[in-house]
Symmetry: C2
Subunit: 349 residues, 2 copies
Amino acid sequence: MRVTMAYVARKANVSHCTVSRVLNNKYRHKYTEATRQRVLQAADELSYRPNILARGLRKQASTFVGVLLPDLVNSFIPNLVQGIQDVCDSKDLSTVVYSTRLRPERLEKYVQLLIDKRVEGMIIYDPFHQLQERTLRRLQQHDIPVIAVLVDLCDGATTSIKIDQALGARLATEHLLSLGHRSILHLSAENADSHGRERYEGFLKAVQDYPHHIGTTMIEVDWSWDKAYEEISVLYGNARTDAPTAIFASSDATALGAIKALLEHGYRIPDDVSVVGFDDLPYAEMSYPGLTTIAQPKYPVGEHAMSLLLRMMHGQPVSPVLLEPQLILRQSTAAPPEQPLAKGRSAAT
Amino acid sequence: MRVTMAYVARKANVSHCTVSRVLNNKYRHKYTEATRQRVLQAADELSYRPNILARGLRKQASTFVGVLLPDLVNSFIPNLVQGIQDVCDSKDLSTVVYSTRLRPERLEKYVQLLIDKRVEGMIIYDPFHQLQERTLRRLQQHDIPVIAVLVDLCDGATTSIKIDQALGARLATEHLLSLGHRSILHLSAENADSHGRERYEGFLKAVQDYPHHIGTTMIEVDWSWDKAYEEISVLYGNARTDAPTAIFASSDATALGAIKALLEHGYRIPDDVSVVGFDDLPYAEMSYPGLTTIAQPKYPVGEHAMSLLLRMMHGQPVSPVLLEPQLILRQSTAAPPEQPLAKGRSAAT
DNA sequence: CTGAAAGCGCTTACAG
DNA sequence: CTGAAAGCGCTTACAG
């Protein structure tokens, strides 16, 4: 049989209201220590546990927070979620996580579901702006506070916590420039989404701000490892002496595609070509050579997002947050070669 | 103002019970089509949405399923979760996912929390057997059905869905043997957990079953990329002609550590040394050279687990499931070199 | 200091 | 065919 408050009350010889008061540690001056002890002991002996659903119904608070993500697999999502959950844990909140896998109709469906579940707030990462404005308005109607992470929502007004993408691109580019590279290739995702565009712009800006002339090449690879691999195979496959000595890839995945193509064509990294990535995937460290890249503070984004949401839930004012990425030096970057590049250089030594 | 059934009822000029009946599509013969239309229209006009908490309280069903994992970051966890969630989606269930990050006390806490939330079932992945038997008993007391994934729970009795680890190890080993390798090194995780042990045993068994004499070496690296990297650096670092021509690593991570060490010492893969991993991480394909490995059916494990749980929730009989892993051929394996191995072989050509 | 009562928003036997 | 009533397990003003 299920142990309810009534049951505990009977055992402790009090009414269920008293049980509620004692167990919630509320109105402490309103009952004697003796009663308190009796209740506590009865609850303990029966291993009583409150029914959170009932409490939620009564208090009009579900203790749930909704998290909407494009997918679960993507590199930094787990860390983001972890950050959110750790804050929730300390506040007796739970997260309900949904991943849309890029299907807009699922997005709408999940928002509705989360509303139905009476979540007390929502954190949304919507990289391709698939969330419609009217859905956002629905959330407002239900007084559900929303925080956008990494990317603004379509309304542009929802409080967001983001990472400075352009700064990351600048750090990567300036690192290559300071090593002496004067011809840099950018594997871009300019047309893919806002992060790709911001990284592209950060790269351009860094180059323009540099006092010397820099030769730049851009290839759109749309976050795709395959495209990066193929484009670099073609570009460096034919013996050329004027190929860029450095590559700034807009993601670790595309950087790894480039590296694989270069290694297969006999180039040495970083001796012949330097490569910088972006993201700091776990593999960035495991790969050969270790990938110099831009690390994003994934876990802190989650933490901040949840803290902001908490403030909103309590009706406190919030303002957007911008976090800074960081350059991680590994073995894939070095000064450019003294001799001009030539295919199969390393195999010939 | 919040739209409740009472509100819809008033608007449709019926009682709230009728609203409930119509909206739940139950007792269809119990009201006229006209009433039905009136209710439906009123609900629609008011954008009525049922309160799932209230329904759950009444029906004694939370529509939540708990998922307990060691972490969110580990390679195949996201796919596993996705499989679980997709099945849940089709059944109007939601998952509450907790990751313990290997802290046993968190495990106990989360189980309790999930009980408090009145989850209708639980899926648990507990690789290091941190869950205590009495916690499992508590779950039973609350009539919460449990499914173990990938690894048995401490009681050994909970229905489980697993992947045949020994078979995976056998597939990997036989692949190397069939290529002609007669000296194989196993980077093991024998002492780390049951998966490590099963993979180790599968390897041994495959070698013993082989008609020819096979030289085997074992190094315990405990799932650690670092340890694999260091051990292989040492073993292959000193010029030796008798080093194994093939490595079966108990995970992709350790395989990648080995590969990095080998490449740094000038060995060519697969020309000088063949390497097989285990897991099929996304990076297995992206690395240089593409990693031959054992793929585990991650998503299907999630699907099956949830389907089993569903059966249990409906009081139907269930039996354990064992899924088969699969060999994925890429570029890191080939026949052994004709000349004996020597350090820096490739650099010398 | 303690209890009786109302109510959160539903579902479902039970009458009529 | 429809409604009144009870009840899921809590919390919280309101009396006493």
